[in-house]
Symmetry: C2
Subunit: 154 residues, 2 copies
């Protein structure tokens, strides 16, 4: 659409460039309701203070990524409702999405039978969990087959 009062070839001064609207601020996370007995059941001793945290999409169950938590990262995750990890290579805590905007809001944290791994079910915001821009870090397939469906019913 032409500017009011001027054709495409009018000699009027160009309008100021449109500025993009500021992005909406990120919503706050919602703290989780916590079973303290189970927090104490997490066994950080086997992994030199760390446990694996398998992050899973609540929408379709996709495994998005796997990272590490120590007790502080787990506490921050439960208290903030957003995923916190510990980077072994950088020796520091990081909250997913702080840099990329691809935040993870936590719905559930589960612990495995021997207490040394967690499943963290999240609402993934932004592009996805992977630094490559893919939704999941597991975007490449090494092998495929038909499997053997389990028998059903007696």
């Amino acid at each position: 659409m032409s500017a009011p009062g001027g054709g495409a070839d009018a000699a009027a001064p160009a309008p100021p460039p449109a500025t993009a609207p500021a992005p909406a601020p990120a919503p706050a996370g919602v703290p989780l309701t916590v079973d303290e007995d189970l927090v104490r059941a997490v066994d950080f001793t086997k992994g030199d203070g760390l446990v694996s945290a398998i992050v899973q999409d609540t929408i379709d169950g996709t495994v998005l990524t796997v990272a590490y938590m120590d007790e502080e990262a787990l506490r921050r995750t439960l208290a903030t409702g957003r995923s916190w990890f510990y980077s072994r290579s950088r020796g520091e805590y990081w909250q997913k999405g702080d840099t990329s905007g691809d935040r993870q809001y936590v719905r559930e944290v589960r612990i495995d039978c021997d207490g040394d791994a967690l499943v963290v079910r999240v609402d993934q915001h932004g592009r996805g969990a992977c630094h490559t821009g893919e939704r999941t870090c597991f975007y490449r397939t090494i092998g495929t087959g038909p499997g053997v469906p389990a028998p059903t019913g007696p």
Copy 2:
């Protein structure tokens, strides 16, 4: 139905006790079609020869368990179509279900962006993946919350 030639109260000798039918032999796994370039992309160096293998149910996406594979366990998994792992504590290979009967038939193996973790999607037979008898090792919930659903649309 009565036996031919004898009523229920006939004085014929008791039949031999019924023996339970032998369990059907476990079906063979189906070897996977493999992308060799991606097998070579698995980085076993960071984990002292091991990578995490996150085992996921093909039926509903449940994360069943997490275990470790070295290159030999991965090769056996791809070649046999059943999950093989390496036990750090016992220092040996094990094929899931050999003892319990709770076998895992593999449909897909995926690799993550930096090559140090796998997702193994399986048809879980028997009771489940956990030695406790639960279907998943992640049967306990540390924390729950509502999350923050991701915004939809443009």
